[in-house]
Structure formats: structure tokens, C-alpha cells
């Protein structure tokens, strides 16, 4: 497991859509390296024969009947919008095509 470095952090910051200055990237890389070091022991004890637990309390098949419930008015929906026009949320130009 390679140590986490500044380029790694830059890549992660891009994935997480958080703009970071060079200084921040450096500082974060240092902090994270320490943290990652302390938690990597986890993989030692997590052997192949141990199943993963994603949900702490076993529950299955929680389903909802296909019935229409409550709905906002457009005004309510847009009530927190930083910018809106014509009943829709307004955002600056989108650079990338949708995936």
C-alpha cells in the first residue's frame, strides 16, 4: 500500500469536486498519510473467509406500496435555490457531457 501523496490528493479533490490550493494539497497529503498509516492495519485482520457486513441490523424486503404521496409546489421546491428561472434551477454552463 503506497503512501498517499500530493498528486493522489489532487486527484481525489477533483473527484470530490473541492477546489484546493497547492498549500492545502500539501497539508492534506501530510495529514492523510498519518491517518491512512494508522488505519491500514484493518486489512491485516480482514481475511478472505470473513464476510463483509454492510448493514448492522439484518432487515430484508422493506418495500413501499406504489401509491402517490406528498409533493412540493414548485415554489417550495425552489425555495432554497441559489438561482432559478422559469420554475427551474439555474446553473452556469456545464462543461462535460453527461455520463
Amino acid at each position: 500500500m503506497a503512501a498517499i501523496n500530493r498528486d493522489d490528493v489532487a486527484h481525489l479533490a477533483r473527484l470530490a469536486h473541492i477546489e484546493m490550493s497547492d498549500q492545502e494539497l500539501d497539508r492534506m497529503a501530510g495529514e492523510l498519510a498519518v491517518i491512512v498509516d494508522s488505519i491500514k492495519s484493518v486489512s491485516e485482520v480482514a481475511s478472505a473467509d470473513v464476510p463483509a457486513t454492510s448493514h448492522p441490523i439484518p432487515l430484508n424486503n422493506v418495500l413501499r406500496e406504489d401509491v402517490v404521496g406528498h409533493v412540493f409546489t414548485a415554489e417550495q421546491a425552489l425555495s432554497g435555490a441559489p438561482d432559478a428561472e422559469d420554475g427551474r434551477f439555474r446553473v452556469p454552463a456545464i462543461l462535460e457531457e453527461e455520463s
Binding site: 470530490a16 477546489e19 488505519i39 492495519s41 484493518v42 454492510s54 448492522p56 434551477f89 452556469p92 462543461l95
Partner: protein, 507 residues
């Protein structure tokens, strides 16, 4: 300062039911207390004066008309600002939600309203519940009522401090790795994390979805039981909520004996790293329980040594996904980049850079790392396996004991600023509380006394099997009674006065 604020919720409920006092009087007394001390304590981010008094007045008139009311009707409560409330702001302690007003109520808030409990306001927290000291709030820290230069714990320091400072008899908190229990321990109050799924998470801003629970904060075990029964129960809006009813908890708190119960001391939750005074108070609690007829046994849960590591993989991973929605598009802060092309991608980047604090960014990056391609198996995947091991250790321990016991946190309240530069040191505050969140089992913290070396509160933690929350209240209430007898009154009677006009309060 009104005597009313010194009452427990149960005492207030009795007086309200008996007509000795009105809900408006009770609510006003607490609002006055908040006005008097909160400049120093800073437990509250928002005080809900008008609505709280209106609700109180409504309760009074309904009671006067002879309506059947909930037992806690008219008893005021504070709500951690991670839980959405119509009519008040919800900030999650973050700049990214500053000024945001939720158009919907959390399920637990609906239940408080249905019970006629006036909401005094929203309490301070570490940003998005990420922290153990409330120092990571974007709006300034909360201070421990026992010593205003010290932290009140976190992430729910505001709720615990509010209750410890008599600004509210009850509060709601959330607990992901100890955020209710650890503040309880360092402020001399009671805090409970229910069984995962016991209380609806709908409307609690998610940190780590598989770990989060909303729970009660109070000054007595009985009060927490009363509040737990209000907020607990199945919610069709939360797919992870249990269908078990949250009943029998108050009854359990009133049982009054622990005869024949087996109390398991967890070997791994104590010893090195735990402050001497904290350990001393812990051992005294064991003696009291033994004297009360319980059997003390030692259990070992070796996987608990990996709990912190597993937690700091699972929690940031889920948090990184849960916090992705804060992007300046639909609500909250939007920051435009200063120069360069104005694209939504850059607006998101600038918004999140400005809106999130350092700790939040650290955890988001860490979580993104743990989930990213090539690392999933070693990190997140491994952590989920450790979770299995921790559950197995709990199962084995509960075969030998009815409840488990440990100090809640390794130390008493440290000074503001002391651990801010050392994230790892900060994370160690949660070492005893984290295993319960990973396994989904319920936990309760109550005051164990004051540590000799600094005179500050320490807490003792009880843990029970999933769905056996009642056991916590049964044992907790008995231990609390014995401890209070040994102290000559509640622990908070020993806390320094906050209001300048106060003389030192007697018992």
C-alpha cells in the same frame, strides 16, 4: 434564575400535569436561562422564542380544556442542528448551509410536535457531526459549562452543554461514533445511542448512514427513557428503521434492581490511554453494581482494537457520498470562482472549498480515497469485514453478560485548541464508543463522578445487545441512584454557577 430550570423533565411533567406551573412559565424560564448564559456557553445556534412560547401556550389551553395530553407535553427541548426543522434554520454547523430553511420536518421533530414539546432552538455541533469537541463548528465552539475554557465534547457538544447548563431539560443529539455519549461523559449528563434503526433517521442530515442514530440527551436516566419512547419507533420513510416498538424503556428505568444481572467489563476498553481519574470512577461504579447484587465478569473483544481503523474507513467513505449533495445547485451556499471559465463544475468546486471546513474536507478526501478504484478491497471492503468481527465479538460477549460496561471516553474535557492540530489524537476520544455504532448495538453514558486530578466529569458507558435498549435503562437507573446517593445529590449540583447573579446552589 428560576428553580424550574433545575428540575428534570419528569419533575416538570409532573408539575405541569398537576397544574402547579404552566408550560409558558416553564418555557420562559428556560428562554431566560438561555439569554443569561448562552453568550458564554454558546450551546445554541438559533433560539426559537416565538414558536416555543406559542406551542407552550397552546399546550396550556388544551390542558385547560381537559384534553388528554402526552406525558411530556409542555416540557421544552433543544434539537441538534443536524436535524431538520420547519420554521428554524438548519445549518449542520456548516457555512455551506448557513441560512437554509428546510421545507420539511424530520420524523422525530414531527413526534416532538405531536407530543406538544416546545422546541427551544437548535444546538451547536461539529460541522456535519464530524468531530469530538464541537471546535469544528463553522460558527464558533461551544464551551463546557464545567469550565468555559474546555470543550463540551462532540459532535453534539451543544446539546450536552445546553442540558448541563440548565438551558434545556432535554435535547436531541445524533451519534455516529459517540457524538451523544462522549459529550455526555465530559459534561456530566446522560446520553443514549439507541439500537441502529430504533429511531428514525429521516431528517437527520446523514454523516455515515450505516452508523448514525438520533438519541436522547438529558440529566437523568429516566428522562432519557421518557424521551426515547417519544422519538423511537418504526418509520415508513426510513427503510432501515426497526418495526419493534420503543416501549418498556421507562418501565425498565423504574425497575430499581440489578439483582443477578451479569455486567461484562470489556478488557480492550480501558487501561493504557485512559486517564487515571476516569478509570478510578469507573471502578467505583463496578463496586456499586456488585454491591447491588450484579455479577461482574470480564470479557474480551479483541477485534475492538481494530474498531477505530474500521470506523475511520467506513465513516468517511459514507460521508464522502452523503456530502456530495452540497454543491450549490439546489440549496445552500453557492460561490462563484473568482476567475476562469464559469462552469457548474468550477462553481461546485469553489462552493465546496468555501463551504466546508478543514475536518469535513479531510474526511471527504479520505472517504473518496477509501472507495476509489483499486483501494476498495483494502480499505472500505476490509473495514466492513472488521465490522463482522466486531459483531461476532459482541455476540460472544453477550453470551457471557447481559450488559457490557466501560468508561465512555478515555479522558475528561480537554482545553479548547489542545487537540486541533492533531486529528489522530482527536479521533482517539471515540475509541470506546465506536464499537457500538459499528455493530448497531445500543449504548448509554451516565456520569460516573468527577476525576480527582481535574475535578471534571467522567462517564461510564453501558452497552446492550441489539433491541435490548431496556437493559441500559434498567442498569443505568440503578447505578445513577447509587452514585447520586454517594454524592449527596446530582453531579451537576457540583458544577460552577454560570450566571453572575447566582449564589452557589445547594442540593
Amino acid at each position: 434564575m428560576s428553580e424550574l430550570i433545575k428540575h428534570s423533565a419528569a419533575q416538570l411533567a409532573d408539575k405541569l400535569a398537576g397544574g402547579e406551573v404552566s408550560a409558558v412559565e416553564v418555557t420562559q424560564a428556560h428562554l431566560d436561562r438561555i439569554a443569561a448564559v448562552d453568550t458564554d456557553v454558546h450551546a445554541f445556534l438559533h433560539v426559537n422564542t416565538d414558536e416555543a412560547l406559542a406551542v407552550a401556550a397552546d399546550v396550556d389551553s388544551r390542558r385547560a380544556r381537559g384534553e388528554q395530553l402526552h406525558r411530556l407535553a409542555g416540557v421544552p427541548i433543544a434539537v441538534k442542528d443536524l436535524i431538520v426543522t420547519i420554521g428554524q434554520p438548519t445549518t449542520a454547523g456548516s457555512k455551506i448551509l448557513e441560512g437554509w430553511h428546510s421545507p420539511y420536518d424530520a420524523t422525530v421533530v414531527k413526534k416532538l410536535r405531536a407530543a406538544g414539546m416546545p422546541i427551544l432552538g437548535k444546538t451547536n455541533l461539529d460541522e456535519f457531526a464530524m468531530g469530538s469537541s464541537t471546535e469544528h463548528s463553522a460558527f464558533g465552539p461551544t464551551r463546557n459549562p464545567w469550565d468555559l475554557d474546555r470543550i463540551p465534547g462532540g459532535s453534539g457538544g451543544g446539546s450536552a452543554a445546553a442540558v448541563a447548563a440548565f438551558e434545556a431539560p432535554l435535547a436531541l443529539g445524533t451519534d455516529t461514533g459517540g457524538s451523544i455519549r462522549q459529550p455526555g461523559a465530559v459534561t456530566g449528563t446522560v446520553g443514549v445511542k439507541p439500537t441502529y434503526g430504533g429511531v428514525s433517521r429521516y431528517g437527520a442530515i446523514a454523516l455515515a448512514s450505516s452508523l448514525d442514530q438520533i438519541g436522547p440527551v438529558s440529566r437523568t436516566v429516566l428522562d432519557s427513557a421518557l424521551l426515547h419512547e417519544v422519538i423511537g419507533g418504526h418509520d415508513p420513510f426510513d427503510s432501515t428503521s426497526l418495526t419493534d416498538p420503543s416501549t418498556g424503556l421507562v418501565e425498565a428505568a423504574l425497575t430499581g434492581n440489578v439483582q443477578g444481572m451479569r455486567i461484562g467489563v470489556v478488557k480492550e476498553l480501558g487501561g493504557e490511554g485512559y486517564q487515571a481519574g476516569v478509570e478510578a470512577r469507573f471502578h467505583e461504579s463496578l463496586e456499586l453494581l456488585r454491591a447491588a447484587g450484579a455479577e461482574i465478569v470480564e470479557v474480551s473483544c479483541p477485534s475492538f482494537n481494530y474498531a477505530l481503523g474500521a470506523y475511520y474507513l467506513i465513516m468517511p467513505s459514507e460521508a464522502s457520498s452523503n456530502l456530495a449533495k452540497f454543491d450549490g445547485v439546489r440549496y445552500g451556499l453557492r460561490v462563484l470562482p473568482e476567475d476562469g471559465p464559469m462552469t457548474i463544475e468550477r462553481v461546485m468546486g469553489a462552493t465546496r472549498a468555501a463551504g466546508f471546513g478543514d475536518e469535513a474536507k479531510r474526511r471527504i478526501i479520505l472517504g473518496t480515497y477509501a472507495l476509489s478504484a483499486g483501494y476498495y478491497d483494502a480499505y472500505y471492503g476490509s473495514a466492513q469485514k472488521v465490522r463482522t468481527l466486531i459483531q461476532r465479538d459482541f455476540d460472544a460477549a453477550f453470551a457471557q453478560a447481559d450488559v457490557l460496561i466501560s468508561p465512555t471516553a478515555p479522558t475528561t474535557a480537554f482545553r479548547l485548541g489542545e487537540k486541533l492540530d492533531d486529528p489522530l489524537a482527536m479521533y482517539l476520544n471515540d475509541v470506546a464508543t465506536i464499537p457500538a455504532n459499528l455493530a448497531g448495538v445500543p449504548g448509554l453514558s451516565l456520569p460516573s463522578g468527577l476525576a480527582d486530578e481535574d475535578g471534571l466529569p467522567a462517564g461510564v458507558q453501558l452497552l446492550a445487545p441489539a433491541r435490548q435498549d431496556a437493559r441500559l435503562y434498567r442498569v443505568g437507573a440503578v447505578l445513577e441512584a447509587m452514585l447520586e446517593e454517594s454524592w449527596g445529590g446530582p453531579i451537576l449540583a457540583k458544577a460552577p454557577a454560570l450566571e453572575r447573579v447566582d449564589t452557589v446552589e445547594g442540593k
